[in-house]
């Protein structure tokens, strides 16, 4: 069941992105930034977690979850250390995505040539 909903919710989030591309003529960069901010905002109101519970990877794989987990990490640390925690905890949860991108980016640059 979760597989079905991961597909549907993940797909629907992408449809919203496509509408932003095609109807509002936003560049991919603008669209993705909007998504990340949106994810952070949704988490502020506690609306993103239920989404993840419901759709699993359908909610964690789209870039919106990046904003969500940044807020999450920041809030978790903030509970322990107050405002300082907001800064120190920021990447607690999201480090995997960014470090993977950096590491595989470097490996990619070592291994591949652009195909054109």
């Amino acid at each position: 069941m979760i597989f079905f909903w991961a597909f549907v919710i993940g797909g629907l989030i992408c449809v919203i992105g496509q509408i932003m591309f095609d109807v509002f003529k936003l560049t991919p960069a603008h669209t993705l930034c909007t998504f990340v901010v949106l994810g952070a905002l949704l988490d502020a109101f506690g609306l993103y977690e239920p989404f993840i519970d419901f759709a699993g990877a359908g909610a964690t794989v789209p870039i919106t979850s990046f904003g969500n987990s940044l807020v999450h990490g920041a809030m978790a640390e903030a509970e322990k250390h107050g405002l300082v925690g907001v800064v120190t905890g920021m990447f607690e949860v999201t480090s995997a995505g960014i470090s993977a991108a950096i590491i595989f980016g470097m490996i990619g640059a070592l291994l591949f040539k652009p195909k054109g």
């Binding site: 003529k25 040539k113 652009p114 195909k115």
Partner: protein, 339 residues
């Protein structure tokens, strides 16, 4: 001789004595493969960067043109050309190899005809005996600079055009055998306020129309004087828009005599969306395909209108509109060989 505001009539009729065209693999699979001198199997050309490949392509095209005319490097008096890369380095570096005096040009995709018009002018007024002129572009190098990394997954809208990997050069001389350059009309900037860099055709169409109409008026000829009016890289949208503009202005241009290099070069089914573009597009198609057809006698009078969108990634990001330009050069078959 200046006629009207911006048209030159070349009374000595400079001759295009030879040409050299080199293209990449994608163009080699297109409609005009037989018209190119050299088709590369891969876009790197065994170089370690796209920019170097770009430069090598131009060097090879110059070599081809000189070979065909039996000329040596030191006989070339001037090289006039350009490309789309920052500070036109590929062209400058290629000319470093060539060693001839050099005038670098930038007219975006209109560079080919800007170069031909100026070369013809220089030759017409005894400025030189042999001038090489050309323009080139390399798909990956241009994408890298103007858009995204080549492997980046950005969806291109149906209005986008595909930058040609190709180069075309022509050797212009006051004497010899070949099609003659009879007149040229220099374009002015036309900016209709369009800002979409993925719709160049739509932005450039008014510039092409402006130049063509000025040319016809100042040279005082009817569109039917030409067997073919060929634009540089308007693509589907630009061609359609410009045809409708002609209709609106009452300029009797027939659809079958009005073609676009950007639509000629690729085959139906190649994933190029609205057509081809790039400085190398008009250069390789005109110096390859169109001149071959003229030599065969299929065409006798051709007006080439190379269109250029003079934007940069910076100007686009600063939300500037896209200024466009078009230069027209008429190429005609002369009666007999000039001496």
């Amino acid at each position: 001789m200046l006629t009207g505001h911006r048209t030159w009539i070349f009374d000595k009729k400079p001759v295009i004595i030879s040409t050299g065209t080199v293209v990449g693999p994608f163009e080699g699979k297109g409609n005009l493969a037989r018209d190119f001198d050299l088709i590369h199997g891969e876009i790197w050309l065994n170089q370690d960067s796209f920019e170097k490949a770009h430069q090598v392509m131009l060097e090879e095209a110059c070599q081809k043109a000189m070979e065909k005319a039996n000329l040596q490097k030191d006989q070339i008096q001037f090289f006039l050309g350009g490309d789309l890369i920052n500070q036109i380095t590929p062209t400058s570096f290629a000319t470093r190899t060539l060693g001839s005096p050099y005038l670098g040009l930038f007219g975006a995709c209109s560079t080919s005809m800007e170069g031909l018009a100026l070369s013809a002018f220089l030759v017409n007024y005894n400025g030189a005996k042999y001038i090489l002129t050309g323009a080139s572009s390399h798909n990956a190098a241009v994408e890298k600079q103007f858009r995204y990394p080549t492997e980046y997954g950005g969806q291109k809208p149906p209005t986008a055009q595909w930058t040609v990997t190709g180069t075309g050069v022509a050797l212009v001389s006051p004497m010899g055998k070949g099609p003659q350059v009879t007149s040229a009309t220099i374009g002015r900037i036309v900016d209709m306020g369009l800002t979409d860099p993925f719709n160049m055709g739509g932005a450039m169409a008014p510039a092409a129309v402006d130049t063509i109409e000025a040319h016809l008026k100042e040279r005082n000829v009817d569109p039917s004087y030409y067997d073919l009016i060929v634009t540089g890289d308007l693509g589907h949208i630009g061609r359609e828009v410009s045809l409708d503009l002609f209709k609106k202005h009452g300029t009797p241009i027939k659809e079958e005599n009005y073609q676009d290099c950007g639509l000629l070069i690729y085959r139906e089914g190649q994933p190029v969306l609205a057509g081809a573009s790039g400085a190398g597009c008009s250069a390789s198609v005109v110096y390859g395909h169109i001149l071959n057809r003229m030599k065969k006698g299929e065409l006798n009078r051709v007006l080439v209108v190379a269109t250029g969108a003079l934007l940069s990634p910076l100007s686009f990001q600063q939300k500037e509109s896209i200024p466009c330009i078009a230069h027209a050069v008429s190429i005609e078959n002369g009666g007999e060989e000039q001496v």
